[in-house]
Symmetry: C2
């Protein structure tokens, strides 16, 4: 990525020549931003958390070790008010997970249980496969038609830069198992919600409607899903054996780790920057979301080291995001009465920021203009969608706090998302540095803005 | 790959304009070659074998089903003398395989047992890790210094087009476990012999010297090997738990499946074209080596359908290649007295052929010249190394039969080799068609050559 480094550097150097908006960027903001292109802190945090903790499933002992690690690290970095805010969490853990085609062409398949999946008996279950090309096709199946069968639902998710197909196709995972259960299915398999071609299934949570008993639910790796489709296309009945033994282990502790850079003007409000500390259990969660914690924390440290900001910067390393945004909810319940003036989260990998979306009140236009101008030299242009935040700050933003979405390039995000492949080697350090520069510029503009920043109009 | 298709087509069309060598290509050869650029047969065989059989480890019931499938398919295609030539095989099968770092940073690791690995007790073993950066470093460890320890050997294999680093770095897998066993190690882990960054370990055989008891031996996926290196670099003692329960299941049957296109002149000798039918057990073996069987068989069928060739073309789908080239050896023992005039094997994936190496006697220069001329329009240039064959024909070639190596592009081969990721989706159909065109051209030239083709000078 030397090429990109040169390109970023060229853009940064060229910034004085960009007319109009660039002239609004205070020198200090530009200097902080450009210095961050050599950041080493974000990567060091990501490397440390993934190496010294590894996978950190919400509610487990591993997540607890991750919180202890985070408290030590944030304290050592010099942040203030470093603390854990615990909350209880109903915890689910993975068990055995195997599958094989019994007939007509015996062979193993690779899959992983979805979060909240029910369990088969330890000896497994056997059943005939009923294929659905989409979630809509599953919805159209007559009630009772799946009794005793194993539903298999595919989809057509493709690669996009903004990752927006996750919402559309993700319904197969989020809601498909509940639908299949209501129609009497013995179990459900889905094609992993992803865009890669590796034998690594994509984990992720599902939910069963109130009153519906959870059935075994798992995601096949994409090559395995395609293999099963080919077998089905041969036209003979297809029988599978499926063994999934996840289990609920009761209520455990999770927690939000918080650190602050106290502002000189407490009345000016809090700028909240977030990431999540937990990961799925199949990988060390480098992209999702150790990198996000590295990026926001490195940026906050740069602001802290440059002198006290006007507004308090609060760093939230949320717990239990993957399993249902429990950390984000707990944060909101505890802190909703405080005056947040902006909220943002980094939770989409570590590839470059390419777009910025905001949701400020009209009166804050000068702040937004300075923000856009400060980001433009990094190759970041303003988008037209309102910022809604990463998952852990979405409640804060929904309640009226202005949001800032520094949108990352998601072209390869769903190759890695929730798979065993989400490991440190996937981090592109130069792109990660561009992220730190963007977050540093954002904090420099927003935390120090002399203007008052008010709540959005609720109608926005 | 539409771009490449256009390029191949352009080269093919341009061939009448290429002076000197191209003028030597008989029209019939050029027509057969160019028609093969639309081949569908090689892919159909690859798709069928990988879908309807799946993984097919040597000596197992799956390899037996694969032989039955092969006999049916080759018979249905109209080949002659289709038969299985069985041979006995000491068979090894995989068991449980898990590993975890116990201290200082508890977390699971992904690995797979090497072929012929010894087993741990079912409850696993625990031991301290001793790191070696290379095979040479392992060799230099004092005798007895590994007593009760788990050796971990890394290496620096990189991506090359010709795949030649497999020989150099593959020694870590082939010989490392024997060395570690002799030095008293309780077990050995290696960094997978490969070039990818996925959590899919690379299987492959190892061997223990006569009189040395097999120890548990496994390959970590490359991201896991890098993770373990990072943990070790922290400087604290690293303890692992390792559970590997593979076992020898005694002598079973393997076999070579053979089919022929009988030649009009039996005295003119046999052209042997080979691939191997068995695969490692972690994947469906699309690249290694269903594709090779598809390519050589599709080419032979094209020659058969175009009219009886002068020389008999013999197709060998060898058994038990992966576990020690047992099929190739059995073939040689049974058929060494027959007159082979050329031998070639496709066993390096399905990406484009970019180079041809040969090892003919000097008197056959006109045949070799026509062969080179026929391949040049496909973007295949002559190399300078003598052909030594794929594994299953290497004994035939070593005994003096001329060899032809249609060298495939191996740039991504060791991303997939022996991993769970060696599946059908990795086949690039346009590049596979270029392979079929190359093999068709080769057979058209060699099987019909009016010249006599003699044995190589043994000194060659």
């Amino acid at each position: 990525m030397t090429e990109m480094h040169r390109w970023i550097a060229a853009l940064a150097l060229a910034s004085p020549l960009i007319p109009a908006t660039a002239q609004q960027v205070p020198d200090r903001v530009g200097q902080l931003r450009d210095a961050a292109l050599d950041d080493q802190v974000a990567y060091a945090i990501t490397e440390g958390l993934t190496t010294e903790i590894g996978p950190r499933l919400a509610g487990t002992e591993a997540e607890e070790r991750a919180r202890a690690w985070a408290l030590r690290r944030l304290t050592a970095m010099g942040f203030s008010n470093v603390r854990n805010e615990p909350f209880p969490l109903k915890t689910w853990v993975r068990g055995e997970e195997t599958a094989e085609i019994l007939a007509p062409f015996p062979q193993p398949l690779r899959l992983t249980a979805l979060g909240n999946s029910g369990a088969t008996p330890a000896r497994g279950i056997e059943g005939e496969v009923v294929y659905f090309a989409s979630y809509d096709a599953l919805l159209a199946a007559p009630d009772g038609s799946l009794k005793g069968k194993i539903a298999f639902v595919s989809h057509a998710m493709t690669r996009t830069q903004d990752g927006s197909q996750y919402g559309t196709y993700g319904v197969v995972r989020r809601a498909g198992p509940g639908v299949a259960a209501k129609k009497g299915a013995a179990a459900i398999l889905i094609r992993s919600i992803g865009t890669d071609s590796h034998r690594n299934p994509h984990a992720g949570g599902t939910n069963f409607p109130e009153g519906v008993t959870a059935i075994p639910a798992a995601a096949l790796s994409i090559p395995d899903a395609e293999q099963l489709e080919r077998v089905i296309e041969r036209g003979q009945p297809v029988r599978l054996k499926l063994t999934l033994t996840p289990r609920a282990i009761g209520t455990r502790q999770s927690g939000n780790v918080i650190a602050e850079v106290p502002g000189s003007d407490p009345a000016a409000g809090i700028v909240l920057v977030a990431c999540h500390l937990d990961s799925w259990d199949l990988a060390t969660g480098a992209f999702d979301d150790a990198a996000g914690c590295g990026i926001v924390t490195a940026a906050a440290k740069r602001i802290m080291d440059a002198g006290q900001p006007r507004r308090t910067i609060r760093i939230l390393w949320a717990g239990a995001e993957e399993v249902g945004i429990f950390g984000g909810r707990a944060y909101f319940e505890k802190h909703k009465a405080e005056r947040h003036v902006a909220a943002a989260e980094s939770d989409f990998g570590a590839d470059r920021v390419w777009r910025v979306d905001t949701s400020f009140a009209p009166a804050a236009k000068p702040v937004v203009d300075r923000l856009k101008a400060a980001l433009l030299p990094l190759g970041i242009a303003a988008g037209s969608a309102p910022a809604t935040g990463g998952a852990d700050v979405s409640a804060v933003i929904a309640a009226g706090t202005p949001g800032i979405d520094l949108q990352q390039d998601g072209t390869r995000y769903f190759d890695l998302h929730h798979t065993p492949d989400d490991t440190l080697d996937k981090i592109d350090r130069v792109q990660m540095q561009q992220n730190v520069a963007a977050w540093t510029a954002m904090l420099a503009v927003v935390a120090d803005a002399p203007e008052e920043i008010g709540m959005r109009n609720a109608a926005n």
